[in-house]
Symmetry: C2
Subunit: 112 residues, 2 copies
DNA sequence: GCACAATGCTACATAATCTGTAGCACGACG
DNA sequence: CGTCGTGCTACAGATTATGTAGCATTGTGC
């Protein structure tokens, strides 16, 4: 259990600096965080569907990340079940989209 | 020491899917990876300077991430000492820049 | 040459985190 | 009722991070 269970930023390391970018960088720099956002990018997924999409990652971490991501307001759990991005989460995901093209070029340069 | 010291993609989980975005997401989704890229964004830093910038993180992890980031071709160690981004690394960092503005809006909405 | 400081980097024990498997409570269907 | 799927949790073992100390090397001044 972290130090606090307060509002947001319970133990988001970077938040100590007061710069929100640090908090965000820390939140996203946790295992499966980026991946979860990415997999949710084009539609809702159930917890088990998300697990499948995430290469059978442990439900333990997935639930932890999902909790943090929900607390941050990026992800929400629909009433009929199934996780999806909030409007804010979609914005964040859009920010990450150029990464896709970059990844392609990265591989090309690496293999060269 | 990890299992291999091979080219790239030694144990980058996502790379199993063959999609480079997964490898990238996994690499960046490790502790301090994003932060290192961010701190290097506007200039070179020595290993100890980077440590200071990264809130006194352990040199162990920093060296590990630095090694992975160098292997990926995002970071390089100058001959006179000091780490800096490669051209590819700067490209990647540029991709992340919109995150800064997003982080500001994120805080605004969270605090609201 | 020799102390001195700074560099990149590593060792090691402790603590935190992730993995993998199993299973819970709940609700919807039949 | 039985079975399925949902979100979610427990727990032991493996992995990774933390924190402190220190190494080898290089440059600088004396």
């Amino acid at each position: 259990m972290p130090k606090q269970t307060a509002s947001r930023s319970r133990s988001v390391r970077g938040s100590r600096t007061g710069r929100p970018i640090m908090a965000l960088l820390d939140l996203l720099g946790r295992r499966w965080s980026l991946r979860i956002l990415w997999e949710l990018r084009d539609g809702a997924l159930t917890s088990r569907g998300l697990r499948t999409a995430c290469d059978e990652a442990s439900p333990t971490v997935l639930q932890a990340r999902l909790g943090e991501l929900r607390e941050a307001g990026f992800v929400e759990l629909g009433d009929g079940g199934g996780y999806s991005l909030t409007a804010l989460g979609r914005e964040l995901c859009a920010t990450f989209m150029p990464l896709h093209r970059f990844a392609e070029r990265w591989r090309d340069k690496s293999d060269a």
